[in-house]
Amino acid sequence: MARLIATRLLTLIPMMLIITTIVFFLVHMIPGDPARLMAGGTRVSPANLAKIRETYNLDKPVVTQYGLWLSDLAKGDLGRSFRQRREVTDLIVERLPVTVKLASFSFLLSLAIAIPLGILAAVKRNTWIDLVATAFALVGASSPVFFTGILMILLFSFKLQWLPSIGPGEGGWDTVVHLFLPSLALGISLAAITTRITRSAMVEALTQDYIETARAKGLSSRSVVFKHAFRNALVPIVTVAGLQFGFLLVGSVLVEQVFGLGGLGSLLIEAVQVRDYPVVQGATVFIAALFILINLAVDVAYGVIDPRVRYGGGA
């Protein structure tokens, strides 16, 4: 197990190198002149433009710029924002909490909806319960989050006035109250997929031979479903849940816009619009690293769930 983690951590280095390269060159391929955008208009004197370019190393060849950026990155320095004239690291640290909170809340909400519903649908398969779960998944998966979000604001904030519609709240319980609607909007769309995966993994597990052994032992349906089937169904569920959590870190941008939460996703979108290279690069690399770490956590989870992974044995 420790070896598995160690090897995976080592592969992180080449992976990050590849990602940084791709990110850097992609960002620089976006049309638009950051110096001109920074100067804020078309009627800028060539001298001023040249000065800006010099300050930010934009006059140097792209490959040189890449080298400089990479050596800073190796020291943990993500550079300074062109536009906001602040450290990129500070910007990320400032925006991160609301994103992490939103992502975690909606992730937990989605699991709280999807896992019981998926299990129920599998156990009661081909009944009306299964049908309701399928309908929920279909509607959830096909409604865009910004649409669900707006509907929720209309219902819960505007009509019923139960919950606030905007802002991240001021900490503690206030944050929970403020983040509930956006988390629910995101959570429902995630839950749609997780419900389907849980259902199909549980159906698969419940038709395995060892389920019959468990029943022949005299175990109750509860132990059969939760102890023997659910743990076997966990691997696909954890895989999907891990991917979803990764996507949540950026994918929540639409919800952030609807509910006026300035998170990491919003930071990235704003930066792309003004060709703020260091912020785009820094935020993307940061998110990529998080993504890789989540995948590592998923791999470790496989080992915890399944002894065949842990001991590296086949059938």
Binding site: N126, Q208, D209, Y210, E212, T213, A214, R215, A216, K217, G218, L219, S220, H228, R231, N232, I305, D306, P307, R308, Y311, G313, G314, A315
Partner: protein, 342 residues
């Protein structure tokens, strides 16, 4: 009728288990009647698809419903109709007084739990034992069923054991609560030949030690001859013949049984080619009228195509469901058929 048969451990009476499909009801078990006396080892033989496994599972009420459903008949265990019990009462019996082992020990153990855990689970379910006591009991059971290094094996996962050891684990699990009846569904089919013999010897020895009754499901008449006291032959969802092993082998009283015997390859006479039974088992959604074996039976008469034969006593302890069983003409026909196979 002997006393042993008047107080059977298990009496299946005209059991019908059907499966709903698009093509109509598949009558997998359609009027099975079978008795098992205390301490008796009964073999249930038949071709694949004859309904042997469904019969075995229906005793434990393990047939998933839907699509399966109990259409009629009773399964009496020590006089108690199991189909009249609640699911909770049934759970107390499963793995307690009735236990079951299955065909493929590779897939019938949960890959995510240690074998020791899986056997303890059965003990904790049926006996007043704490984990520590259960663990010791499992280790003792492992020794009884011949698992070497029993203590270390407790913490092994199924994938770390060979097929033979896994089947021994299954047997340990089934025997953990000293059942009155053990149902073994083709327990050696998935194993290597040498391991098969070991498992059969083990089962025979454990049966002799505990005095439990065994229903052994198999398609292998050799296993039956080796293991069983009596044998029931199943064809197309019904029992067509039941008799003590010696009688059945010496004097089969159903054309299907005779056909099965003639189909065994013979090692003592390499020139005698095995004679397969012509045709295929019927589609159980639309079984033939009259005797279900009539389309494949070389001696079928008009009555076989119209009247359903009942399973009746043709001699003490010998029952057959053939219209002609017991008649002299029939005995002569069967004998000549067996001779042809020899």
């Amino acid at each position: 009728m002997t006393d042993r048969q008047q107080h059977p451990v298990l009496a299946i009476e005209d059991l019908r288990i059907w499966f709903k499909t698009r093509a109509g009801d598949v009558k997998a078990v359609d009027g099975v009647t079978l008795t098992i006396a205390p301490g008796e080892v009964v073999g249930l033989v038949g071709e694949s698809g004859s309904g042997k496994s469904v019969t075995a599972r229906s005793i434990m009420r393990l047939v998933p419903a839907p699509p399966g459903r109990h259409v009629g008949g009773a399964v009496r265990f020590r006089g108690q109709d199991l189909y009249a019990l609640s699911e909770g009462e049934m759970q107390d019996l499963r793995g307690g007084r009735i236990a079951m082992i299955f065909q493929d020990p590779m897939t019938f153990l949960n890959p995510l739990y240690t074998v020791g855990d899986q056997v303890s689970e059965a003990i904790l379910r049926h006996q007043h034992a704490d984990r520590k006591k259960a663990r010791q009991q499992v280790i003792d059971l492992f020794r009884t069923v011949g698992i070497p290094n029993a203590e270390e094996r407790f913490d092994a996962y199924p994938h770390q054991l060979s097929g033979g050891l896994r089947q021994r684990v299954m047997i340990a699990m089934a025997l953990s609560s000293r059942p009155d009846l053990l149902i073994a569904d083709e327990p050696t089919t998935a194993l290597d030949v040498t391991i098969q013999a070991q498992i059969l010897v083990l089962l025979r020895q454990l049966q002799a030690e505990t005095g439990m009754s065994v229903l052994l499901i198999t398609h292998d008449l050799g296993v039956v001859a080796e293991m069983c006291d009596s044998v029931a032959v199943m064809y197309a969802g019904q029992i067509v013949e039941q008799a003590p092993v010696e009688i059945l082998f010496a004097n089969p009283a159903h054309p299907y049984t005779a056909g099965l015997m003639a189909a065994i390859p013979r090692a003592d006479d390499p020139n005698a080619a095995p004679l397969p039974i012509p045709g295929a088992p019927p589609d159980m959604a639309r079984p033939p009228a009259g005797c279900r074996f009539n389309p494949r039976c070389p001696w079928a008469q008009e009555i076989c195509r119209t009247d359903v034969p009942t399973l009746r006593d043709i001699a003490p302890n010998h029952r057959s469901a053939c219209h002609f069983a017991g008649s002299q003409v029939f005995d002569w026909a069967i004998l000549s058929a067996l001779e042809a196979g020899r």
